[in-house]
Symmetry: C2
DNA sequence: GTCTATACGTGGATAGAC
DNA sequence: GTCTATCCACGTATAGAC
C-alpha cells in the first residue's frame, strides 16, 4: 500500500540516529547505513546534515500544532477544551518522545533562518493555549492572573515529558496525560473564597 | 581573595563552551583557549572531555539538591514549605539555566557509571518533593492522589525553565518562580466540594 | 604543570562512473 | 538516483621538552 520512498527512509533513519547519539555526534554515514544507502546518496535528498534536522523539526512541530489545534476545536466548555488539549498534547509528546527530544534539544543546531521558522511554530502553539485561557477568563470559567505565564507552564508539563518519559516505565502515556490534564484544570479554575 | 585555580577556570570554560555549542560540538581546543591554556594542559586536570561534563553535572546537581533541601527545611506548614521549595528551585534553574541545560540535555553523553551517579542525585531531588507532598496529604494540607506523578510534574515546571528561560526576556526569574510556586499550591491544595 | 608538535582516526561533503 | 573512491579539514589525545 504505502510506498516508502527514499526520502522517508532517510528521515526515519535520521530520527533514529539523532535520538540515539544527538545531532552532532551522528554521522552522515550512520544515517546512510540505517537508510540502506551509500553516504553519497544522502546528498541527493539533502544538501547538508542540518537540512535533515530541519525537516524533522518542521514535521514534528506541524504534527504537535495540529494536535493541539484539533483538541482546541472540540465542542464543550472551556474547561473541557483545556482538558482535551493537555491530554492530547501530553500524549503526543509521550508517544513521540524521540522526535520531541530531537526538535527541542537540537534547536540550536539549526541555521538562524531555520531557527526563526521553528520559533514561529512554537509561538503558534503558545497562542492556541493562551487564547483558550483568555476566553475562559472572559466568561469566568478560569481564574488566571498571568495568562502567558500560565499557558507556558501548562505546555511545560507536556513538553518536559520528552526529557524523562520512557515507554518501558511503569506509568503509561495515557495516565500521565490524564494527570497533566487534571493539574492544568486545577491551575486555572477558580477556587472557592476561603 | 578567592584565588581562581586552573581547575576552576577550566570548569567555567567548559560550561561556557558546552552551553554555546553542546557537549559533542565543543572541542577540547575551545575549552583550553577559553581557559587560557594549551590543549595539552587540559589533560593534566581531566583525562577526558567527558570527565569535564561529569564534574559540571555533579556540581550542578549538588547545588540544586542543596537548594531544595534547604527550602524544605524551613519552619512553617506544608503549604509554606512547598511554596518555598518551588520558588527556590525555579529561581535556581533560571539563574543557572546554562548549567541546568548542560546537565539536563547532555545526560546521555556521560559514561554508564557516571550516568548512574547523576541519576541518583535526581532520585534524591524527587524524594524531597515526594516527602513533602506525602506529609501534607497525611495531615490534610494537600489533596494529592498521585504523589510521585504530581511531584514530578511540579519539578518539571522548574526544570523546563532551562529550555526557554532567557535573562534578557521581559519576565524576571523571581516573577516566574513566584508563579510556579502559586501554580504548585493550586495543584496540591484541597478544593472545596462543588 | 605548562608548553609545542604531532600522531591517528574520523567526518562532511564532492567527483565521476553507471 | 545510486554507487565507489576520495579530498581535506578537524578533533581527541599523547610525546617529550622545559
Amino acid at each position: 500500500m504505502s510506498i516508502i520512498t527514499s526520502r522517508e527512509r532517510l528521515l526515519q533513519a535520521a530520527v533514529e540516529a539523532f535520538a540515539e547519539k544527538g545531532f552532532t555526534a551522528t554521522t552522515t554515514r550512520d544515517i546512510a547505513t540505517r537508510a540502506g544507502m551509500s553516504p553519497a546518496a544522502v546528498y541527493v535528498h539533502h544538501d547538508t546534515k542540518e537540512s535533515l534536522l530541519f525537516t524533522v523539526s518542521v514535521e514534528g512541530h506541524q504534527a504537535a500544532l495540529a494536535v493541539i489545534r484539533t483538541a482546541a476545536a472540540i465542542e464543550g466548555d472551556h474547561v473541557a477544551r483545556l482538558r482535551q488539549m493537555v491530554r492530547e498534547f501530553s500524549t503526543w509528546h509521550a508517544v513521540n518522545s524521540r522526535v520531541g527530544r530531537i526538535v527541542q534539544y537540537e534547536f540550536d543546531a539549526l541555521t538562524p533562518e531555520h531557527r526563526a521558522e521553528i520559533a514561529d511554530y512554537r509561538r503558534q502553539i503558545e497562542r492556541v493555549m493562551r487564547d483558550v485561557l483568555s476566553a475562559g477568563v472572559a466568561d469566568g470559567a478560569f481564574d488566571v492572573v498571568d495568562v502567558p505565564g500560565t499557558a507556558r507552564a501548562i505546555l511545560s508539563l507536556s513538553i518536559d515529558l520528552v526529557r524523562w518519559f520512557s515507554p518501558r516505565a511503569s506509568t503509561s502515556a495515557g495516565d500521565i496525560a490524564q494527570l497533566h490534564a487534571e493539574l492544568a484544570v486545577r491551575m486555572t479554575t477558580p477556587r472557592s473564597p476561603s
